[in-house]
């Protein structure tokens, strides 16, 4: 596998020296993906040179910048996602490859690292980027200008009875060359989305990636649809799910590494997807729970590993308290949605009774005014209904998404702890082996000694590897977390502003309604 073709990041649109290796080799899919993919023109240019030299440009495209104190050779510059930041000082080779499995990949990394170090063009940037701090990382402008649009539309009920399901149209519009076409669409069902999540989880969650979770399964909701209940609640359910699936996909393709995953491409492109099995028993949440349960014991550990670990501890605490608040907020927003729906119903009923009263009233002008009032109340009903929809689709669902995402983030941190624990255990095993060896030396048993020495070597190797794994996952988790924070900040801001704008429009319409009514009221008498 060492010689397998490298993972090439999709070059920028318009970059004229397209790397010939733009076709991702699918055999790499089972290897740890290089998540530090990014591209900027300077990188592309310099890497063109490398390819020319027949070197493996491979997993060295990283523009992530995370100053780690763990390993000085692991310095990566910042970038975000698939597209460039236009700063020129932002590239260095990535030395962190996220494969965990075999030492051979690590071995692969080393020679290329050293080879790269000699690259003159890199050195200045390396020294430049080294001192760049986390804070700067957070402040750097994040141009998430993706040339990638996915939409989930046209839910259609296929089949009848209990075997029926909803098929959704997944449409992609992109200029990324890794796709066969610019615009294409496929039909997918809910279990396909869950299947995608599971595949991604299996591959990436152990690396510390934050995998966006899909929406929850809902037996009640789906049964209604299957049974053919044609009412507003099942229509709402389908719409809620469609929107949630769309957001889920959008998050997946926003993630620079996940986008590279061939499963994602297959999901978006391939006409017929093999039926995802096991998802009928295992939903996205269930899978996550499974991972989390395994690392639950680990998360209880409060041992501080190193100085930089305080960062992780703090962030985890922040995540936990934020999740708590979001849950609270979500509950209140749901209450608001319900009260608004109630208000909507009560307003409609009141409008009718007002109309009746207007009919009874024998003073003509008053009768007319009362009827007009009834009409205003009728319009308010529509307003309340739309507002309740806004409350739900913009606000409540945003909160629900982030509650799920924060769960995924926690899982990520727990993965890291699990890795740390493995390293620690290896170290203690190694220690034990050494003790055994010492005893054997003293007892003078040469044959067993040989075995002991072999075991020591083996475990020394493991310790080294696990340590590296831990360092790697720490870097990844940190990077992922910062990326997540940025996205979250953007998401919340944009969605809340959207929500406020919907409130604004409601008030504007309200003003119109009452302005129209006022002269009618004044005309009584």
């Amino acid at each position: 596998m060492a010689a397998s073709s490298p993972r090439n990041p999709p070059p920028l649109p318009g970059a004229d020296n397209q790397d010939p290796l733009s076709e991702m080799a699918d055999e790499d899919s089972d290897e740890g993906e290089d998540i530090f993919v990014g591209n900027s023109n300077p990188v592309a240019e310099s890497f063109q040179t490398d390819t020319a030299n027949g070197e493996e440009p491979a997993d060295l495209f990283s523009e992530e910048e995370i100053s780690t104190t763990v390993n000085s050779s692991i310095t990566t510059t910042k970038s975000n996602g698939v597209h460039s930041d236009n700063e020129n000082d932002l590239f260095a080779e990535a030395s962190v490859e996220l494969s965990m499995e075999n030492p051979s990949t690590i071995a692969r990394e080393n020679p290329t690292t050293t080879a790269k170090t000699s690259g003159a063009e890199f050195t200045p940037s390396r020294t430049q980027t080294q001192p760049k701090s986390i804070e700067q990382l957070e402040e750097d402008k994040d141009e998430d200008s993706f040339d990638m649009d996915v939409a989930v539309t046209n839910p259609e009920k296929i089949g009848d009875g209990m075997n029926a399901y909803i098929a959704y149209k997944v449409s992609t519009r992109t200029t990324l060359p890794m796709f066969k076409n610019r615009t294409f669409s496929v039909w997918r069902r809910f279990s396909d989305f869950l299947g995608l999540y599971e595949k991604l989880s299996v591959k990436h969650s152990l690396n510390g990636c934050i995998i966006p979770p899909p929406p929850e399964k809902s037996i009640v909701g789906m049964t209604k649809v299957k049974v053919g209940k044609e009412d507003s609640s099942s229509a709402d359910f389908v719409e809620t799910r469609r929107a949630a699936l769309e957001r889920y996909l959008q998050r997946v393709v926003c993630h620079p590494s996940l986008l590279q995953d061939p499963d994602v491409r297959e999901f978006l492109e391939r006409d017929e997807l093999p039926r995802a099995v096991g998802t009928h028993t295992l939903s996205g949440a269930g899978f996550l729970k499974m991972i989390n349960r395994a690392s639950d014991a680990v998360s209880k550990m409060t041992v501080k590993i190193s100085d930089s670990d305080a960062w992780f501890d703090n962030k985890l605490q922040e995540v936990e308290s934020e999740e708590l608040q979001l849950r609270k907020l979500h509950a209140v927003v749901e209450s608001l949605v319900n009260h608004r729906k109630e208000l909507c119903g009560n307003t409609a009923v009141f409008a009718k009774s007002m109309a009746m009263l207007g009919n009874s009233e024998d003073n003509t002008a008053l009768s007319r005014a009362l009827s007009q009032l009834a009409e205003v109340e009728d319009k308010m009903e529509t307003l309340h209904q739309e507002q309740a929809a806004s409350d739900f689709f913009i606000l409540a669902e945003l909160l629900a998404d982030y509650i799920r995402l924060l769960g995924a983030v926690r899982g990520c941190f727990e993965q890291r702890m699990k890795t740390w624990q493995r390293w620690q255990e290896a170290q203690s095993t190694l220690q034990k082996k050494r003790e055994v060896e010492a005893k054997l030396l003293w007892a003078n048993k040469p044959d067993k000694l040989q075995q002991a020495k072999e075991e020591i070597t083996e475990w020394e190797g493991k310790v080294t590897q696990y340590e590296r794994d831990f360092d790697r996952i720490s870097v990844t988790v940190r990077k992922e977390f910062l990326r997540f924070e940025k996205e979250k900040s953007k998401d919340f801001k944009s969605q809340i502003v959207k929500y406020l704008e919907s409130l604004l429009q409601s008030q504007q319409r309200l003003v119109k309604f009452w302005e129209a009514f006022l002269p009618e009221a004044k005309a009584i008498g």
Partner: protein, 400 residues
């Protein structure tokens, strides 16, 4: 809780009935009120140039039961059969509010200090609002009586206003309440019978049909408006909690997004107050208006019933007279009886007509005033909300 009756509410209730407080010979108001554990004490203040009062200005303390006593004395007085008796004020009901305050106290542990203080303030404001309303409703009753050309001269009314001792009007005991209950049953059964009698007079026949339908529809509208306003208040409460939670989220850090949360929290605090005001104004201008006219239309129906009853009595007396004349037995007695019934009926009819016309005038005026004010307030609040939202969105967008 003491209340100096908020002039605004007072005005609103006065305006439900126009032409009040214009007469210097007798002016009545409730200048103060005190809420004790399970009763409210109203300070009834009178200013009068009438000679029958000992002083020109004086105050007494009255409780709800005494108002009811006064109202009932009007109803039971045959002389007033031909008038719309101003409806009795509803009993002060703080139960719901007290319950909420109690629940809040119990749930104190589960919320932050800020939340608790906020909710407590909310509930206290609600309590105060209910208190003010009940004061206003009692005042309106007195003012209506004082404005009525005949009722204002009533002896019981003067005693009510002037006698500075306890009127010893105990609330009705169980037996009396049962008696009342049966009386009402009989009355409504009778009412149905009486209503079934077709009236020769077109005016009254029309009024009968009209009032019956109107009363039912006002009742319906009143209960539906209550429900609607309750939902509105609940939604405003939710926005309050959203504001609090956003505030907590915003204070956890000083990142960009946290500052954002704080701004939005502040916005929601303000819009929530406006929403609560909208609900309160709808309550005052719409729900209370409907409730009042529910009671007044009932009083008008009662008048029609009394007249109908008198008509039936009159017609029966006529029949009895004919019968007596035919048998030539007890003719004088029958004649006297018939005359009495006739006079009673005609007296009621005469005043009833005027009363019903006045009722219409009052109703139209009250609806006009309240609907105009409702529209103006709704507009004001919507514009206020709009401005808040516009400026906040502007700031937030500018920051991003």
């Amino acid at each position: 809780v003491r209340s100096c009756v908020e002039p605004q509410i007072e005005e609103d209730y006065q305006a439900v009935n126009v032409d009040l407080q214009t007469d210097a010979t007798l002016q009545v108001d409730i200048s103060d009120a005190l809420s004790e554990r399970d009763k409210v004490k109203f300070t009834v203040h009178t200013k009068s140039t009438l000679p029958n009062f000992k002083q020109n200005e004086f105050s007494v303390v009255r409780q709800h039961e005494e108002f009811i006593w006064l109202h009932d004395s009007f109803v039971e007085n045959e002389e007033y059969a031909g008038y719309i008796i101003p409806p009795a004020p509803p009993r002060p009901d703080f139960d719901a509010s007290r319950e909420k305050l109690q629940k809040l106290g119990e749930g104190e542990g589960s919320m932050t200090k800020e939340e608790f203080t906020k909710m407590k303030q909310e509930l206290e404001a609600e309590y105060l609002a209910i208190f003010k309303k009940t004061v206003a409703m009692h005042e309106v009753f007195l003012c209506r009586v004082a404005a009525h050309p005949v009722l204002r001269k009533d002896m019981n009314f003067h005693v009510f206003l002037e006698y500075n001792q306890d009127l010893s009007v105990r609330g009705k005991n169980k037996r009396e309440k049962m008696e009342d209950f049966f009386k009402n049953v009989v009355k409504s059964a009778d009412g149905v019978l009486v209503a079934g009698v077709k009236d020769v007079d077109d005016f009254f026949e029309h009024e009968k049909t009209f009032l019956l339908e109107y009363h039912n529809r006002v009742k319906d509208a009143s209960s539906k408006s209550d429900r609607m306003i309750r939902s509105h208040k609940s939604a405003a409460d939710d926005i309050n909690r959203i504001a609090s939670t956003l505030y907590t989220l915003g204070t956890q850090d000083s990142t960009d997004v946290c500052k954002f949360f704080l701004k939005v929290s502040e916005l929601f605090e303000k819009t929530r107050k406006i929403e609560a005001r909208v609900a309160a104004d709808e309550d005052l201008k719409l729900a209370d208006l409907l409730k009042y006219y529910l009671r007044e239309s009932q009083a008008a129906k009662d008048l029609l019933y009394r007249r109908g009853r008198a008509l039936v009595d009159y017609e029966n007396a006529n029949k009895a007279l004919d019968k007596a004349r035919a048998k030539n037995k007890d003719v004088l007695q029958a004649e006297t009886s018939q005359q009495v019934c006739c006079q009673k009926f005609e007296k009621i009819s005469e005043s009833a007509k005027q009363e019903l016309i006045d009722f219409k005038t009052r109703r139209v005026a009250a609806f006009r005033k309240n609907l105009v004010e409702l529209a103006e307030l709704e507009l004001k609040h919507a514009k206020g909300n709009l401005q808040l939202l516009q400026s906040c969105v502007g700031v937030l967008k500018g920051d991003t």
